[in-house]
């Protein structure tokens, strides 16, 4: 049974790493302006469409080699999705910066509906798909069973962890990251010290969208199919992952995503697939009872 356990671990890790990538968008936005960006799942969905369009365009111009194809697709998707993130913040959230806490929440839900319908109308309601890009897989014999690992899954794991590492570097080591952290700690103080906080908030939306775009390309490669409604379930899962890890905490989002993915896979493997979501949400409730701030979140300090 070792082979089965290991296979489930791999299933969970690949699923969890893309949850983590999307969760980053939720957690960063919450950390900096204290709102839940419910349109973030739709940003992922748009990036799935964009990656298919990019692939089609590149192939149209005669590009055939896999590394160039995937690099071009990533570049295009991340850039265009980043623009979407920036525009969404400008239109839906910035005008409401100083209104009640509830207003941007409602506007986020509205944005999510608008984006869904916009894609449905412009791209059609049918299921879309891309052909398999990377065929083949590794197969390891373990005990009396085996573990099968497609090249695509290896690519996903590597790309997701590279993306997370790059983001950690940006936040911890660069000037932009320092500005983000300063704005997160105290927006007013940061702006007194000469940081253009509005611009930093825009950057955060762009970074979140870029991470969702990376996830979009990876998921589209792996499952090959998507529709205009694809952002809903995965958005909810990623949001759960962000809360699980401690909303506002970057490593928390990644950890939360991976825990959620692995828990889902192992539970459906060992117990029952019907109730895997019940299990993940029970896990969330339990963790929040004992650690209301999430696994790696900082406890809220009441500001006077």
């Amino acid at each position: 049974m070792d082979g089965i356990f290991l296979q489930q671990l791999i299933n969970g890790l690949t699923l969890g790493s893309v949850y983590g990538l999307i969760a980053i968008g939720y957690t960063m936005v919450y950390g900096i302006i204290g709102m839940i960006n419910f349109a973030h799942g739709e940003v992922y969905m748009i990036s799935a469409y964009l990656s298919a369009i990019a692939l089609a365009l590149l192939a149209f111009f005669g590009l055939e080699s896999f590394p160039l194809l995937i690099l071009g697709t990533l570049l295009f998707t991340v850039c265009v999705t980043g623009v979407y993130g920036w525009v969404i913040e400008r239109i839906a959230y910035k005008p409401l910066r100083n209104s009640t806490r509830l207003a941007p929440l409602i506007s986020a839900i509205g944005m999510s509906l608008i984006l869904q319908n916009y894609v449905q109308i412009s791209q059609g309601a049918r299921q879309q798909g891309i052909p398999t890009l990377l065929d083949g897989s590794f197969r390891f014999a373990i005990g009396d069973g085996f573990v099968q690992l497609t090249y695509t899954k290896v690519f996903i794991l590597v790309a997701a962890f590279a993306g997370m590492a790059a983001l950690t570097y940006i936040i911890q080591r660069t000037r932009l990251g320092r500005m983000c952290r300063a704005t997160q700690q105290d927006r007013k103080m940061a702006s007194i010290l000469g940081i253009n906080t509005d611009r930093v908030i825009s950057y955060v939306f762009v970074i979140g969208a870029a991470m969702a775009a990376l996830a979009g390309v990876l998921i589209t490669m792996n499952y090959g199919t998507f529709d205009f409604y694809a952002g809903f379930i995965i958005g909810i899962k990623a949001f759960t992952a962000a809360v699980l890890g401690g909303i506002g905490s970057l490593p928390g989002a990644m950890l939360g995503g991976i825990i959620l993915g692995v828990a889902e896979a192992q539970f459906s493997g060992m117990v029952n697939t019907d109730y895997k979501d019940v299990f993940s949400f029970s896990l969330l409730v339990l963790i929040l009872i004992f650690r209301p701030q999430g696994l790696l979140g900082r406890p809220q300090v009441a500001k006077v």
């Binding site: 049974m1 089965i4 296979q7 489930q8 299933n11 969970g12 690949t14 699923l15 469409y49 298919a52 369009i53 692939l55 089609a56 365009l57 590149l58 192939a59 149209f60 005669g62 055939e64 449905q120 109308i121 412009s122 791209q123 059609g124 309601a125 049918r126 299921q127 879309q128 798909g129 891309i130 052909p131 398999t132 897989s137 197969r139 069973g145 085996f146 099968q148 497609t150 998921i219 499952y223 090959g224 199919t225 998507f226 529709d227 409604y229 694809a230 809903f232 379930i233 889902e264 896979a265 192992q266 459906s268 493997g269 029952n272 697939t273 019907d274 895997k276 979501d277």
Partner: protein
């Protein structure tokens, strides 16, 4: 090869769907065409709409309903029960429809038919196969297809007699149609002494079934039966093949669309997939002239297209047979008289079910097409 696929994909994406409502000539009686015109199952809605539109055109050319012209109204339920009730009310209250061709998902047809029953109008579903659709004593509910308890028997017998399977896994999508079909197949297998090794439900809208596939592998399955629709069936069969699972994949009439190949990521994954569906209506001699009309318009009448055509034909025959556009009288007439449709002669029993169902097994080939076995 790869490039060609991309070119096609590019064109398909570039040409945004400009398929609006086709304005029909001013007409007198309204018939609703209800189904998933948007959403993950929109390809079935398109089959419905194409079939019914062609039928309306042909019937109007032949004199309409007792001299009045048919006007079709699109009603989109997106395969969601709540939305189905809303559009059913709209068809009844606003559009004053006297008949409905629809719906598609059984979980939509069942609640919507309550609305039609209350309003006293007649409904003919081309594709809802759950037994409950006609088991609730509604006088105006008919279907043009078989029932899942019949479909399950065909699938169950095939698994035992032809595939000689020892270890069968049964999966469903937790929806009225999917679970009903899976249960019908399970009942037939159990009746014949085969106990499934695994019976589980997955969630509609999800794309990752890897954990489930690994579990199936652990169970050592040689046949996987899935009750559900193609948006889940496609990724499921792909992930089975990616994990090196070679078990035969069987499903029902919920995957009868070329989108099955899209959602699976290519014909190499659907190759060898089996499914139960009514005998191919395109092979019945009665319909050849109509089929040529579809093909002349560049549309292959696959899946439920001809079922939708025949449904409207049957409704029209009911109204014309009754001699007036009264839904109650049309329903009475349909239960007493056979109708010559594009799919051959059809007769209904007192519940509104077809007297003869004709489920057979189909197989998908390496080109991504399905053929009757």
């Amino acid at each position: 090869m790869l490039q060609k696929i991309y070119k096609k994909g590019f064109l398909a994406l570039a040409v945004t769907s400009a398929l609006g409502l086709a304005p029909l000539a001013h007409a007198d009686v309204v018939i609703g065409v209800a189904g998933p015109h948007t959403g993950a199952n929109a390809s079935f809605g398109e089959q419905y709409w194409r079939g019914a539109s062609q039928a309306a055109e042909d019937i109007n050319a032949a004199g309409g309903l007792n001299g009045e012209k048919i006007k079709l109204v699109k009603a989109d339920d997106a395969c969601e029960p709540k939305q189905a009730v809303a559009v059913a009310n709209r068809l009844v209250d606003q559009d004053k429809a006297i008949g409905v061709v629809g719906h598609f998902c059984s979980s939509s047809t069942i609640p919507a038919s309550e609305v039609y029953d209350e309003a006293g109008i007649i409904a003919m579903t081309p594709g809802s196969t759950n037994p409950q659709v006609t088991e609730r004593g509604l006088s105006g509910m008919f279907r043009m297809c078989g029932r899942d308890d019949q479909q399950g028997i065909v699938a169950g017998d095939y698994i035992i007699d032809v595939l000689k399977a020892q270890k069968v896994v049964i999966l469903h999508d937790k929806d009225t149609y999917g679970q009903g079909l899976a249960d019908a197949t399970k009942a037939q297998l159990n009746k014949r002494g085969v106990k499934e090794v695994l019976y589980e439900g997955l969630t509609r809208g999800e794309k990752d079934f890897n954990a489930l596939v690994t579990k199936i592998r652990g169970a050592g399955a040689d046949v996987v039966y899935f009750g559900g629709l193609h948006p889940e069936a496609g990724p499921l069969v792909r992930q089975m093949r990616e994990q090196g699972l070679t078990a035969t994949f069987i499903s029902g009439d919920g995957i009868v669309t070329d989108e099955m190949v899209t959602t699976a990521g290519g014909p190499q994954y659907v190759k060898g997939t089996l499914m139960t569906f009514g005998a191919d209506p395109r092979k019945i001699p009665d319909g050849q002239a109509v089929i040529e009309k579809f093909r002349a318009n560049g549309f292959e009448p696959e899946g439920y297209t001809l079922y939708a055509y025949a449904s409207l034909q049957a409704l029209a025959a009911g109204f014309n047979g009754a001699g007036e556009n009264d839904p109650a009288k049309a329903a009475e007439w349909l239960k007493a008289n056979p109708v010559a449709t594009v799919m051959g002669k059809k007769e209904w029993d007192s519940k509104g079910d077809l007297k003869v169902s004709d489920y057979v097994m189909y197989e998908w080939d390496e080109q991504g097409k399905y053929h009757q076995k």
